[in-house]
């Protein structure tokens, strides 16, 4: 490990670090949730992130997505790759500039031990969950449901249903009058990222 890399990870517990550095996590969506999840998991030292999104950055995204003014108009995954490399250049980032569907999900996320669902449309969330659980029934999928607006921290929770985890308040929908805002979106994204760490580290410790 080169010197800067050693210093970057110097605050990590070495046993925990080696597990995270060898992990592969998939993130479906690079928007409000996905970009925030990616930032946290990159800082946490996850070895490989596989990220897919077909969208481009618009000005209104910046109220919650982890992109910058000069990146407006660019592909989300390309801009995210650039940002992640500036944060943690020691991990591997595999980006896919396309729309995820039932047919390509198993190919794109073949190596992912855990999948984070970071879509905005309810139909896409449903498709992803059903696809993942039927094709990879033993691998966890961490979805988000209900994260719009502001305040009401106490309503945000994580629910486990077999290998499916749901983070959010399972209530507040993005609609007219209730917009997605940075703090609440960030909290739910970080609940997802935090749960990724918990699952990766719990598995390892229960294998000992």
């Amino acid at each position: 490990m080169e010197e800067l890399e050693k210093q970057f990870f110097s605050k990590h517990d070495p046993k925990i670090l080696s597990i995270l550095r060898n992990s592969v996590v998939g993130i479906a969506g690079a928007g409000g949730l996905g970009s925030n999840v990616a930032f946290s998991l990159a800082r946490a030292g996850i070895g490989t992130l596989i990220i897919a999104d077909f969208d481009k950055i618009e000005p209104s995204n910046l109220n919650r997505h982890q992109y910058f003014i000069e990146q407006i108009g660019r592909s989300k995954v390309e801009a995210l790759l650039e940002n992640l490399r500036k944060i943690n250049p020691f991990s591997k980032y595999e980006i896919h500039n396309l729309e995820i569907n039932d047919d390509n999900i198993s190919e794109i996320f073949a190596d992912a031990e855990i999948l984070v669902e970071a879509f905005d449309m309810a139909e896409m969330k449903k498709m992803l969950i059903e696809s993942w659980v039927s094709q990879f029934p033993k691998r966890p999928i961490i979805a988000a449901s209900g994260l719009a607006g502001f305040g009401k921290n106490e309503k945000l929770h994580t629910r486990k249903i077999g290998t499916l985890y749901i983070c959010g308040d399972e209530d507040t929908e993005v609609e007219e009058g209730i917009s997605p805002m940075a703090p609440r979106v960030g909290i739910v994204a970080n609940m997802q990222a935090n749960l990724v760490l918990e699952l990766l580290l719990k598995t390892e410790s229960s294998n000992k």
Partner: protein
């Protein structure tokens, strides 16, 4: 009783849902045919847009 009937009885009008019976995921195509065993644990997760 099929999933479809359970949804009707419980007045579940949400369109975007994921259904698990005894921890096993049941896809939409099977809602009318999958029969829920007695004492089974049925979880209906409503998916909310946003993210």
């Amino acid at each position: 009783m099929t999933i479809d009937r359970i949804l009707k009885i419980m007045n579940y009008t949400f369109k975007m849902i994921v259904v698990k019976v005894n921890d096993e995921l049941v896809k939409k195509e099977s809602y009318k045919t999958k029969v829920v065993p007695e004492n089974a644990e049925v979880q209906i997760i409503h998916l909310i847009a946003g993210g």
